[in-house]
């Protein structure tokens, strides 16, 4: 079954206009900053907000045609994992999972048996008698996922599934979530503002900005060819603007000059510098034609097999280096380092060419 | 805030027929009385039985009109409550309960001098019958029938104990639906037609002003004794008020509202 939606929805003076397609067994990620329309999308799909125009269809079944048809939330079979999970505190884990099975017509005893099996599949089989308040964030997320999947939904919808977790547990939980998502064979939609979630969980990503999709594609495609500065920033590529005068780039809004090997494209240009193209040194480097400058570390974020370092003035850009180098150089916020990027790694494109 | 104005409303009250309106007016009158505390006048506090409400309010008006320097404060309540208040130390110059037994208790507790007691009015029991007499009540003997809705005062209050005394003297086994804690509550239920009949005082029938029919009963008289209290700060004024109640003008007030002459 395939979910196809043309969502046009209105909330106050905000308009969402989104075309969406999710196939069985596919995880689609809706990635966007705050205010882009993510929660409006959740509300439309879960049945909290009727469409202004367009339609939502699950396979052959139309759920909302913005006219006569509006299937109420209880009949939609959209399994939602809410941002803060919304587990029912007056029920134990087993009954939380059994709730959606029971409401679909199964007798309570059968629903509990079934729920126990789902709990085991999602790694919470040992927590059946616990109350939600006794669970860790990661456990609660798995219970919420089991509860949503156990009702055999036609669409599995995860709203910011990792936002409620602290930084330490987020990376580990994200990995198990990726495995568990595959337990559900239907269409899956993950809503997130976190690019790391998007790249690790998504088979396909829709980038949503200000109510519109600005880019759609595989994580690899979006990573290598960001279409907007938001995508570039979240996808990891540094996107700058400036003017090219024979290889000397005067950057907009920054008191800094970069050199590029490209002298063909003159005038106003879009400049991309891949984070992996930038090297960091404790001492001033010397060698082939390259840009070098002294700077300060703004932040250091471990992302598994790479570490993302953000530099402060004069050129605030992202740099990816190995965790080993990070440790060897003792990189931490406030540390002074030399940054270096070859002129051949500074790519320019004419503005508007895309 | 004229005292005059309260009195006008109290007069009007005797013509009012519904219990609810009556209650509201009484509350209003009480509120007006409470806020018209003029200083500079001689204050006389009179504790009177609730059944004397109309008579004492009219007596107050008449006495104050004749004696503008006097300000009478009425405290109207059930006789037992009056006794509790006096024994509890409340300031009263004159007490007028609805039965001699209460007065005797006050004498025993030295609140009243036995020689000071005089009767100001008497009253008799009567059957109040709801408009149209739906229960076909003719006499107290009909209180033995089970199908009409019948009420009396609770035996703990004088009108109730008198009614039950009357029943037992006549060999009547009454079939009662409610024993109301006071006579006004009982009368209201008869006026509203909730009860087909109730045993009240003659004066209550008159006060109801046509809202109920009355059937006189051959029952013992009730006496209303008045006395100046031992702790009164105004014994002379108190004497004068009691003398006024016993005077022809005072007695006219009692008979106008349905009491018998003393």
């Amino acid at each position: 079954m395939t979910v196809v939606a043309n969502i046009v929805a209105q909330r106050d003076d905000f308009t969402l206009d989104l075309n969406l397609r999710i196939d069985d067994g596919e995880t689609v990620v809706l990635l966007g900053p705050n205010g882009a329309g993510k929660s409006t999308t959740v509300a439309v799909l879960a049945g909290q907000l009727p469409l202004a125009s367009g339609f939502v269809a699950f396979g052959d079944t139309t759920i909302d045609d913005s006219n006569d048809i509006f299937v109420p939330p209880r009949d939609r079979r959209v399994g939602v994992v809410f941002q803060d999970y919304l587990l029912f505190e007056h029920m134990n884990v087993l009954d939380n999972i059994a709730f959606g099975i029971n409401t679909r017509g199964a007798r309570m005893a059968d629903a509990r048996t079934d729920a126990g099996r789902w709990a085991t599949r999602f790694g919470v089989g040992g927590l059946l008698a616990k109350r939600p308040s006794e669970l860790s964030g990661g456990q609660a997320q798995r219970v919420a996922l089991a509860r949503a999947v156990a009702m055999q939904p036609r669409l599995l919808l995860l709203d910011e599934p990792l936002a409620a977790l602290d930084v330490e547990t987020r990376a580990a939980t994200r990995r198990t979530l990726a495995q568990h998502l595959r337990e559900f064979e239907g269409p899956r939609l993950v809503i997130t503002h976190d690019p790391t979630d998007a790249f690790l969980l998504g088979d396909r990503i829709y980038v949503l900005e200000d109510g519109k999709v600005t880019q759609e594609g595989t994580p690899e495609r979006i990573h290598s060819h960001p279409a907007t500065s938001y995508v570039a920033a979240v996808a990891g590529t540094n996107l700058l603007t400036g003017r090219n005068h024979g290889g000397a780039l005067a950057l907009d809004d920054l008191d800094f000059e970069l050199r590029t090997s490209n002298t063909q494209i003159e005038g106003d240009v879009l400049i991309t510098v891949h984070p992996r193209a930038v090297a960091l040194f404790t001492d001033e480097p010397h060698g082939s034609p390259r840009n070098t400058w002294l700077t300060t570390i703004d932040s250091v974020d471990p992302l598994g097999d790479t570490t993302r370092v953000f530099l402060a003035d004069p050129l605030p850009i992202a740099v990816d280096i190995t965790p080993a180098s990070t440790a060897a150089m003792g990189l931490a916020p406030g540390v002074r380092v030399w940054a270096s990027v070859k002129a051949t790694e500074v790519a320019v494109a004419a503005v508007g060419s895309n | 805030m004229g005292a005059q104005q309260d009195k006008l409303q109290v007069r009007w009250q005797t013509e009012a027929v519904t219990g609810a309106a009556r209650t509201l007016i009484l509350l209003l009158a009480a509120a007006l009385t409470a806020c018209s505390t003029d200083s500079g006048r001689d204050e006389l506090v009179v504790f009177g039985a609730a059944s004397l409400t109309d008579a004492l309010m009219m007596a107050e008006l008449a006495f104050e009109t004749a004696n503008p320097e006097v300000d009478i404060k009425l405290n109207l309540a059930g006789s037992s409550s009056l006794r509790e208040q006096v024994l509890g130390g409340a300031r009263a110059d004159v007490v007028i309960p609805a039965n001699l037994g209460i007065m005797d208790e006050l004498v025993e507790r030295d609140e009243v001098d036995a020689g000071q007691i005089s009767i100001v009015a008497t009253n008799g029991l009567a059957i109040a019958v709801a408009p149209g007499n739906p229960g076909n009540i003719d006499s107290a003997a009909d209180f033995a029938r089970s199908e009409p809705f019948l009420g009396v005062c609770h035996p703990a209050v004088p009108c109730g104990s008198l009614a039950y005394e009357h029943f037992s003297a006549r060999g009547i086994t009454p079939s009662i639906d409610t024993e109301e804690p006071d006579v006004r509550a009982l009368l209201t239920k008869v006026i509203e037609g909730e009860l087909d009949a109730g045993i009240v005082y003659e004066s209550d029938i008159v006060a109801a002003d046509g809202a109920v029919d009355g059937i006189l009963m051959d029952a013992p008289e009730v006496s209303y004794p008045a006395a100046v209290t031992e702790r009164s700060s105004q014994p002379e004024l108190a004497d004068r008020f009691i003398a006024f109640l016993r005077s022809p003008d005072g007695q006219k007030i009692f008979t106008d509202v349905g009491f018998r002459q003393r």
Binding site: - | S80, D177, T178, E192
Partner: protein, 264 residues
């Protein structure tokens, strides 16, 4: 050896609280000092008291149950459904709390009495009559007690995050299932507290009951009515019954304190 450091509670607050305690405690002290201990047994086993006790127990529990059955849906309506005149309905619900109970009883009589606007046609058609019966006592008690439950429960419903109900709906639950299995369990503490408060208010109810239902031993005379008439003639009995009521309410309220009407 462990030392604990605690802030001393502010003296002013403690002093004011102590005055409040005295306000409640002194009348109880007065009651206890005037209790006729030697005759207590014979007074409390008299027919009048046994009858009144039984009526009070039955009618107060019935009134609490009715308050629950009708008050919970009403609280839900007020908290969750937007409709025209909702504020007016809310004000209407609190009417019995501000109205003197005697006036409330009079109003009930004018509406549901034997000659009442609604009571008369019902009586003519069915012969059923509320005044002067136990049903009248229960109705009067429910009238004064239910607002306490409605207000308590409505407050709890307003504090409940409606997204839990949304979550239940996405899991396939219809509105009634959501109400029964999510909403009610979530507000259970408030529901229990409201029921207990309604019961307590009903136990002490006097004015509306005597006005609407009358006063007859064994039929409509509850403990407060028995106290009131006893005050007219026999203070020992009045004090003894009052003490009995204090003991009943203390035993019930204290024994339910932890399980039933703690706020959590």
């Amino acid at each position: 050896m462990s030392r604990t450091i605690k802030d001393r509670p502010p003296g002013l607050l403690v002093a004011l609280a102590a005055i409040a305690i005295a306000l409640f405690g002194l009348p109880l002290l007065g009651l206890v000092t005037r209790t006729p201990w030697t005759e207590l047994g014979s007074i409390l086993t008299s027919d009048v008291v046994i009858d009144a006790l039984w009526l009070s127990v039955v009618t107060s529990i019935a009134a609490a149950a009715l308050s629950l059955v009708f008050g919970l849906p009403l609280a839900w309506l007020l908290a969750r459904v937007e409709f025209r005149g909702r504020d007016a309905v809310r004000a209407l619900v609190t009417l019995p709390m501000v109205l003197p109970p005697v006036v409330g009883g009079t109003a009930l009589l004018l509406a549901l009495g034997r000659r009442g606007v609604v009571g008369e046609p019902i009586n003519d058609a069915t012969g059923f009559l509320l005044p002067f019966s136990i049903w009248g006592v229960i109705l009067a008690n429910t009238f004064v007690a239910m607002p306490f439950l409605v207000i308590t429960v409505e407050g709890a419903l307003r504090n409940l995050d409606p997204r839990f109900e949304t979550a239940a709906a996405t899991l396939g639950a219809g509105p009634l299932t959501v109400f029964n299995r999510i909403t009610v369990p979530a507000i259970l503490p408030a529901l229990r507290a409201g029921t207990v408060i309604a019961w307590a208010r009903s136990l002490g109810e006097f004015g509306a009951t005597v006005t609407f239902a009358g006063n007859l031993q064994g039929r409509t005379q509850t403990l407060p009515l028995a106290v009131f008439v006893a005050l007219e003639s026999d203070r020992d009995t009045a004090v003894a019954i009052s003490l009995l009521m204090v003991v009943i309410s203390f035993v019930v309220l204290i024994s339910l304190r932890d399980r039933w009407w703690s706020t959590r």
